[in-house]
């Protein structure tokens, strides 16, 4: 079977290449993986520019709100079929899907009503509490077009995550949903132009794809 099939051009990004691209994205833009509400959430990374800083969670009676931090390690992707050694149930890597593995580090700035952390007074008595969790997710890809022939991007959507062995089950479900939402949003910043999938070869107008199969993300199109 030919690579191009019924189209003129084929571009296939192997999962190893996809992981190289993700590493490049998150190395250049670490703030897409590191989120916190204040400097009191410690690194690594140390550089302020490597973080996306947002507001603390407001709560009545807690001056300054609840300080928090969420960090992901660079996700490692596996395109269908599974070559990761299997997914924890109930996850299954179906056709046209990708799985990903990452760690999430949740940080809470623990304090009291009187000693709540104050970003302007870092000597206030708060203690960063951290929990690092391994997680596995599955997702699918999309093509977004810009209207100019040949111009568009591949995006990644996380459909589900699994954190193993958290009790009670309701807590596991809650955390999985929360983390799926956060991870999906973080991965949403990764938008690969079509030409990146082909490493700049054979400028083409997309006709079909992205399709995930044979450990690759595939695009099909015709020469512009």
């Amino acid at each position: 079977m030919s690579l191009t099939e019924t189209e003129e051009v084929h571009a296939g990004l192997n999962e190893s290449g996809a992981n190289d691209l993700l590493t490049a994205v998150f190395t250049a833009r670490p703030r897409l993986l590191n989120y916190r509400s204040s400097l009191l959430v410690p690194g690594p990374p140390a550089a302020t520019a490597a973080w996306t800083t947002m507001a603390a969670i407001p709560f009545p009676g807690l001056p300054g709100g609840v300080g928090w931090g969420v960090q992901f390690s660079i996700p490692v992707i596996d395109f269908h079929p599974d070559s990761s050694g299997g997914l924890p149930p109930p996850l299954a890597l179906g056709a046209r899907k990708f799985s990903l593995r990452t760690t999430v580090t949740l940080t809470l700035l623990c304090g009291t009503r009187r000693g709540q952390h104050d970003p302007d007074h870092p000597s206030a008595a708060v203690t960063p509490l951290r929990a690092k969790l391994e997680l596995v997710g599955i997702g699918h890809t999309n093509a977004v077009y810009f209207g100019t022939p040949g111009q568009g991007e591949v995006t990644f959507d996380v459909d589900a995550v699994e954190i193993v062995d958290i009790k009670p089950d309701e807590l596991e479900t809650l955390l999985e949903c929360l983390i799926r939402m956060l991870l999906d949003a973080a991965l949403g910043a990764v938008r690969l132009p079509f030409h990146a999938v082909s490493a700049g070869a054979f400028a083409f107008a997309l006709v079909r794809g992205p399709e995930i199969e044979d450990d690759q993300l595939k695009l099909y199109g015709n020469v512009l």
């Binding site: 030919s2 571009a11 190893s16 070869a201």
Partner: protein, 265 residues
């Protein structure tokens, strides 16, 4: 398996070649060469279009009926005396009433050196094989389809047309020369006979062949530092390194030109 596999089929390769021909623009060259017994200085330009791509494994792209449109301008100088015989006007005698009989001497014509400029535009079609060539020079990866061998150029008709053009150009250059009218037909015939079709081919072939044998179409060109995502404030650009590229023609149920590309973050 490579990080990226990019493939194009024959239909797409056709489009690629047409685009590459356009991007090639006009090629130019100049020099001097033999035009029969004369030395001619010449300049030439060529553009390429058309052709059908046939991908042949493992590494041949055969382009059939590529059209080369060319213009060749050349000029050659020579002593007219070397090709037309000495010509002398005979003695002329008249009777003048108050002087008597007067006879002028024979006047032998001294033919000058002339320069004949000729320009000819036409086209020729050819079929040639090309091989993909991958290079990394100055931090830029290129995949070029490089002409292999020396394709045959059918230049006979062009040579015949050029001989005619030489005759016309020669007549134009010779016409103002005093007394040339007496031998013009002989002169033009002598010039074209001296050159002959073979002489024109001897000049034309070495001018046009290098345009074809030196032909190279770029089908891939990227900086080794490949930008994946452009810089958007406050984020820097995202780049990867293209570490290796190979190119080959692969035959399955279709013939395809396949690039295998490896990259690293």
């Amino acid at each position: 398996m490579s990080d990226v596999i990019a493939a194009i089929d024959e239909g797409g390769a056709n489009d690629l070649v047409q685009d590459a021909e356009g991007a090639l623009g006009t090629l130019s060259d100049s020099g001097s060469g033999s035009l029969g017994p004369f030395t001619a200085t010449w300049s030439a330009s060529a553009t390429f279009s058309g052709g059908t791509a046939d991908l042949i494994a493992p590494n041949t792209i055969r382009l059939t009926d590529v059209r080369m449109d060319y213009t060749v301008s050349f000029s050659f100088s020579f002593d007219l005396s070397s090709i037309i015989p000495d010509f002398c006007l005979p003695q002329v005698c008249v009777d003048i009433p108050f002087i008597g009989r007067v006879c002028t001497p024979r006047i032998c014509i001294n033919w000058p050196t002339v320069t004949i400029p000729v320009s000819h535009s036409s086209f020729v079609k050819f079929t040639a094989d090309f091989n993909p060539s991958v290079t990394l020079v100055g931090g830029v990866w290129k995949v070029d389809l490089v002409a292999a061998g020396v394709p045959f150029l059918q230049l006979g008709p062009a040579a015949a047309a050029i001989i005619t053009a030489i005759g016309a150009a020669a007549a134009l250059v010779l016409l103002p020369i005093p007394f040339i009218g007496l031998v013009l037909a002989i002169a033009v015939a002598a010039i074209t006979a001296a050159i002959s079709i073979a002489g024109v081919l001897g000049l034309l072939g070495p001018i046009l062949s290098p345009f074809v044998t030196g032909l190279s179409f770029t089908v891939y060109e990227q900086s080794q530092v490949f930008e994946v995502m452009p810089a958007v404030a406050p984020d820097a650009a995202v780049n990867v390194i293209l570490t290796a590229i190979t190119a080959a023609v692969v035959s399955t149920d279709e013939d395809e030109l396949v690039l295998n590309i490896d990259l690293s973050p």
